[in-house]
């Protein structure tokens, strides 16, 4: 139960409290989803966990390590990988380059060896590319490997973003609305991949999602939030039939 723990995290933007004392725990190998109406603070919670926003209160623990107050760029090395709601890929780079940046936490850069492209660096580069190839195989991105991202269709970009997060070899993968903008077929693929990520790669998944079908299919447990506050926690079926949740979505 203690793999990933969030204790009473809060975020205040001036007078607005976007997230108010949210707590939950995720076990290793679990697929945990956060649902809630728009503006509920779900993406803010993600931004807090991936340390893009500093916490206004509370603690975050991953695998025994306290992430609270860590610098934003260290969160990758700590084992957190994420995708973004509005795709934040590197538009003017190829898919391969995007995925290689995902491996950045596993490379130590040395200016001199880079400027001269010494054999040690060359070997490391080949190694990285081999690692990226396994991700490309996993997600069937072979056909677009050398294409520039800004010419790719939306569905493919979402997959590339997923691939980039996987290249980080994270312990905890944060997926921000993985099915938004995808058609039924692509959403099916996404569901299979999420399962494979957990089963084959052993990565714990934390998701924000609106598509209830996907949520029920894939999640082990669900947390519902509204207006920054937790409403209900349990299996998908339990949460979906919870009276407070239904009020939040449908109104009284």
């Amino acid at each position: 139960m203690d793999f990933f723990k969030v204790e009473n995290i809060s975020k205040r933007f001036g007078g607005l409290t976007a997230v108010d004392k949210v707590s939950f725990e995720v076990s290793k190998g679990e697929i945990f989803t956060i649902i809630g109406p728009n503006g509920a603070g779900k993406t803010t919670i993600f931004n807090l966990i991936s340390l893009i926003y500093p916490l206004s209160g509370g603690r975050i623990m991953l695998d025994g390590q306290d992430l609270t107050g860590m610098a934003s760029h260290r969160v990758g090395a700590a084992g957190v990988g994420r995708t973004f709601q509005n795709i934040e890929l590197f538009e003017h780079a190829t898919v391969l380059q995007n995925l290689l940046v995902g491996c950045h936490t596993h490379v130590r850069t040395n200016l001199v060896s880079e400027m001269l492209f010494l054999p040690g660096l060359r070997r490391k580069e080949v190694e990285l590319r081999e690692r990226v190839e396994t991700v490309i195989d996993f997600l069937n991105l072979q056909s677009v490997r050398d294409s520039l991202v800004n010419g790719l269709p939306y569905g493919v970009r979402k997959v590339v973003e997923l691939g980039r997060a996987l290249c980080m070899q994270p312990k905890l993968l944060l997926l921000d609305e993985p099915s938004s903008g995808l058609n039924t077929e692509e959403t099916d693929d996404m569901a299979f991949w999420i399962h494979d990520i957990r089963d084959q790669l052993g990565i714990t998944v934390l998701m924000v999602e609106h598509d209830m079908g996907l949520v029920s299919r894939v999640s082990d447990r669900v947390l519902a939030v509204a207006e920054g506050r937790p409403l209900a926690l349990g299996t998908p079926a339990e949460v979906q039939s919870h009276p407070a949740v239904m009020t939040a979505y449908l109104g009284k």
């Binding site: 760029h73 973004f84 590197f90 980080m168």
Partner: protein
């Protein structure tokens, strides 16, 4: 059409796409090596300037084209390199010692402006670099004891290790060696993790951070390397032009550098070189064409500026990929003939996300 069939990751990493491209570059190298025996002094000096400005282009391209940090202050780094070289050589230092000093001092200047600029983007960064340029220019003009102030200072003939080199061919060779070396270094940087980090910073700072890219570290590094490279160009420039004055390093010069890389083609090293060729070649071309024009359009300086400015605007409007982009399109047309499709390089119009709000 040639299709490059790769069987090993090493092929992805190599310098030239295939043997074909490598042989073109070898041919170019051979031509440049033979040039001193074929061309006159004036043409050689033009080529040397092209090499020098190509080096500046590499530096500026690294920072602006690849890391996305706009700089309107590169003339400051150019100046630091030039004056350092001039002052040290006047004291008897050989090039093998004065040039690295010029590079290091310029890189330090890059860090001086890079560090406070870390949190700045877009227009704020441009303004900060502009102001930095202004301050450096003014400081150089006031520090008369070292730089000779507004009266300027003469630059001694270059001393490589022990002896002064005669002017002309040796200087040309030195510039050639430098431009090739810098080109290789930048190319290597760009195919290594640091280079990818730079591109990541340019395209999406937020996700770059999530991938573990330390923004402060890499931005400062980019500034320092870019400034250092420009400093080396400045050092060579000092010897080539033989006389330095603060008015050679004004904001207008920074603007010209930027216009040069934009016309050449942002985002590619070839663009830097093409931009340099353009910038040196344009006044030459204009002075040859001038004799054909009515004398009403006689003013030399004015005409250069107008053509340069108008061409910048036209390139941005109609050929955003610059001269290199145009070259790639022409080359693709030939290699795909007759299968070239008109919309192949069509830009995806994307409406820029507002800098101000969500």
């Amino acid at each position: 059409m040639r299709y490059i069939f790769k069987t090993h990751h090493r092929q992805d990493l190599q310098l030239f796409r295939d043997g074909f491209e490598a042989s073109w570059f070898l041919l170019l190298g051979a031509a440049l090596l033979v040039a001193p025996f074929v061309l006159g002094n004036y043409a050689l000096s033009l080529l040397s300037f092209i090499f020098i400005y190509s080096i500046v282009g590499f530096g500026l391209m690294l920072l602006t084209g690849f890391t996305g940090q706009m700089s309107l202050g590169h003339a400051a780094f150019f100046a630091v390199g030039a004056y350092t070289e001039a002052v040290l050589q006047a004291r008897g230092w050989p090039f093998v010692a004065s040039a690295p000093s010029a590079i290091l001092l310029a890189a330090a200047a890059g860090i001086v402006i890079g560090l406070p600029a870390l949190r700045l983007t877009g227009i704020y960064l441009a303004i900060a670099t502009m102001s930095f340029n202004f301050i450096v220019e003014e400081a150089l003009a006031r520090w008369e004891s070292v730089t000779g102030g507004n009266a300027g200072m003469a630059v001694p003939r270059i001393k490589l290790v022990t002896e002064s080199l005669p002017a002309g061919v040796p200087m040309y060779m030195l510039c050639l060696v430098c431009v090739v070396a810098v080109g290789l270094v930048v190319r290597n940087l760009l195919r290594s993790p640091s280079g990818r980090a730079f591109i990541a910073i340019r395209d999406s700072e937020v996700s770059a951070q999530s991938m573990g890219v330390n923004l402060a570290y890499y931005k400062t590094r980019s500034f320092a390397i870019s400034a250092g490279i420009t400093g080396l160009a400045g050092a060579l420039y000092a010897h080539q032009i033989k006389f330095l004055g603060p008015d050679q390093f004004t904001l207008l010069v920074s603007v010209e550098f930027l216009m040069m890389v934009v016309i050449g083609g942002m985002g590619s090293l070839h663009g830097a070189v093409l931009g340099a060729v353009f910038m040196i070649g344009l006044p030459e071309l204009i002075s040859r064409v001038k004799v054909l024009l009515p004398s009403a359009i006689a003013d030399q300086t004015g005409l250069n500026a107008v053509v340069f400015g108008v061409l910048t605007v036209l390139f941005v409007l109609f050929e955003p990929l610059g001269l290199f982009g145009r070259w790639v399109k022409i080359r693709t047309w030939f290699s795909l003939f007759p299968a070239y499709r008109k919309g192949m390089f069509k830009r995806q119009k994307s409406y820029a996300k507002s800098e101000r709000l969500a």
